[in-house]
Amino acid sequence: MAIAKVNGVEVEFEPGMTVLQVAELAGEEIPRFCYHERLSIAGNCRMCLVEVKPGPPKPQASCALPAAEGQEIFTKTPMVKKAREGVMEFLLINHPLDCPICDQGGECDLQDQAVGYGRDDSRYEENKRAVEEKAMGPLIKTVMTRCIQCTRCVRFITEVAGSPEIGLISRGEDVEITTYLGAAVTSELSANVIDLCPVGALTSKPYAFEARPWELKKTESVDVMDALGSSIRVDARGAAVLRVLPRNNDDINEEWISDKTRYAVDGLGRQRLDRPYVRVAGKLQPATWAQAFAAIASKIKATAPERVGVIAGDLQDAESLKATKDLFTALGVKNLDSRQDGTALGYGPRESWLFNSTLAGIENADVVLFVGTNPRLEAPVLNARFRKQWIAGKTRFGVIGEQADLTFGYDYLGAGAKTLSGLAKSKGDFVAALKAAERPAIIIGQGALARADGAAVLKAAAGLAKTMKVVREGWNGWNVLHTAAARVAGLDMGFVPAEGGLSTADMLKPGALDVLFLLGADECEPAASDAFKIYLGTHGDAGAHKADVILPGAAYTEKNGLYVNTEGRVQQGRRAVFPKGEAKEDWSILRALSEVLGHKLPYDSLDQLRAKLFADHPTFGQIDYAPGSVATPFDVGALGGDAELSDAPFESPIKAFHLTNPVARASVTMAECAAVASGAAKIAAE
């Protein structure tokens, strides 16, 4: 550890740190615009000037200056203050004074730092520069006159998102940030540039002129759009969720979120089920809760438990899954399934369906094999980690499945199960690397497991994992990448068909059941079943359209709930707004229904329900904990079952990234993004 002095106070630092980082270690705040911890250093805004001894007698940009042993750093001298004031004055020469009509107002770095370093008047008498607006797609609104050319957006899109589409063109006073000829940014992480922009040049298009930051109620919660459980902050005003922002969480999402996480929330106000409905003479009629419950009770009481089935959806919290399971198990129902896609997981040790390396730990892997997954679409934020590893040159990647643009380079091995089963014996560069790897990892996706031959694919993959010693002392490289936020919670509590019970696909066959209870299940084509369908959910989507009774539930921003992400980390989602209309939190609906059905659930509050959940399934009690590689070793080779391997190539379950769940499908913003992504619509330059 080297030692430097910051304002006369000695600070220990790791060699290789910059002066700015050392000053921050000492608790000094250094103003900056272009510097960002997770991006490369540009050093072009000059706001972070400090005085350094020994060195030339002039201010130095601390972000780009390596700290040295014995260095004296001064951050508060008159020279530093004057230098920063000079930089601020230059920045403000061309920056418009339109804060009152700027969406960044109140959360603007330039505004904040102008308070500290700005002059009270301007010495500039010339005209300000004006820059044409740029079209960047349906998410990013541009007011380029406000741009101070920090190039954070360029660096993010190039380095992190891996779709280099934004650039800084021309030179001198005429420089402009733009996409190539006004094309929309196609990255799934594109909207993070809005957070990165230190001024109001790139702002949120769907959120334009909606609210000021100080009007919003901020709730820290968890995302459900994919199985990562990214940390988010839900900003709401009154009954409406206005926007979602990422929170820093190095274990999961670093500080990025996908565009779907950020912008699907306008779907929370559209197509909502805000009161119970009962189908009368072929038409859904508004009903009271009592009428809806009565309709359900008369039907279920008249039906044998073998003819009743339950399918749980992808966005459910653990509590509603638990209440549903308890209720229907008490009724003697064995046909319970939380796997809408029919994935071949759910029996055996818990490690078999977890992302065991953990999302942060996968960065330590040296060879990674993807089987039947497209992480760019299934978990864009995780994909950014893979890209980071690839840029660092630490990891080699191989893919069996779709040959898609993943933003990083990989060895393409083959399309389907035959490649997978033959891989261990094949001779190739990648296989040799996998064999020799110290920390090999296999990431298997639902594109490989959610198929008719899923069990056999699982067996083949597990066999390969065993051969390659993917699970070894101190390292567990067996990773399942889920696509549904509710999947791991469902599997953890055994929300799978009991002995003799029917799975999702069997339940949906015509004539298989008389009563089908859909807990927010919209992805499994429930229309195929001819049973009496009860839908408990939030949106008028696939599940509700053919339902005979509709119970309006709460969306993820409207209830307190636990979610388990793909690595087995239990996280708490929190209520930001109240459910719409007559809708109730899901667990309380089930509790009320249980009383009508004569099997009262043994809990009267969410806390009691959680206590029961923790008692029955202890893993849920470990909030914010991911077992990771320290978990008990398990025999990976024993997974899977025998079946004929099909020749069909693995396909990612996600075809349209922006339209994967009922919330996103109700969102106008996501519809626009999907149209741009599929090329169906050209967004005109505005």
Binding site: T158, P164, E165, I166, G167, L168, I169, S170, R171, G172, D174, T178, T179, Y180, L181
Partner: protein, 229 residues
Amino acid sequence: MSVRRLAKEQPASFAFSKDSQAKADWWKAKYPAVRKQSAVIPMLWLAQKQEGWVSEPAIQEIAKQLEMPVIRVLEVATFYVMFQLQPVGKVAFVQLCGTTPCQLRGALDLKAVLKAKIGDANHVSADGKFSWEEVECLGACCNAPMAAINDYYYEDLTPESLAKILDDFAAGKSPKPGSYDGRVASEPKGAIHTLTDPKLYDGSYAKKIKIPNLPEKPKTSKAKPEPTA
């Protein structure tokens, strides 16, 4: 410096001629395969040599050949002022130096000639043969005023000589580049007035000098190496 943007009207396509493609391949081969994009500036230059200017389809083609994001090529093309982003005169493209030394020696008069003969700056003449622009110092101040026409410097210009040069271009001739007042290069105009003493050149002023801090020659060949500290 003018605002550097792509031209409004662009050709439908661009392809390197056989000759320029061969040169482009030579440049690409200079760099390792993963660093192919190092050839972006030579490639842009080749495109400009071929067409007279860099068009949008040319930028696309170069990005494709170098396997780099097209925005990166656009960044380079819009950064360097030597890349012409607008069409230029097919016969002569005049870049007139307008910086102080040239201006003091009469660049403003040359400008008037260009304006009268070709038209406004940065516009191609109606017949498509001529265009001109004012540029910053081209580093030939000894021969001010001057202009670069196509690839060559035309120096020590007067309104008359510039008009003659333009007429020659229009007539299909290729006027001789270089000074237009009889000089060979940038030597003094007319007779030489300084450094005329012949003694300067016959060695008679030369004195023996001692070069300071030369390493001392070892006196004997058996000098012991100095003991190290």
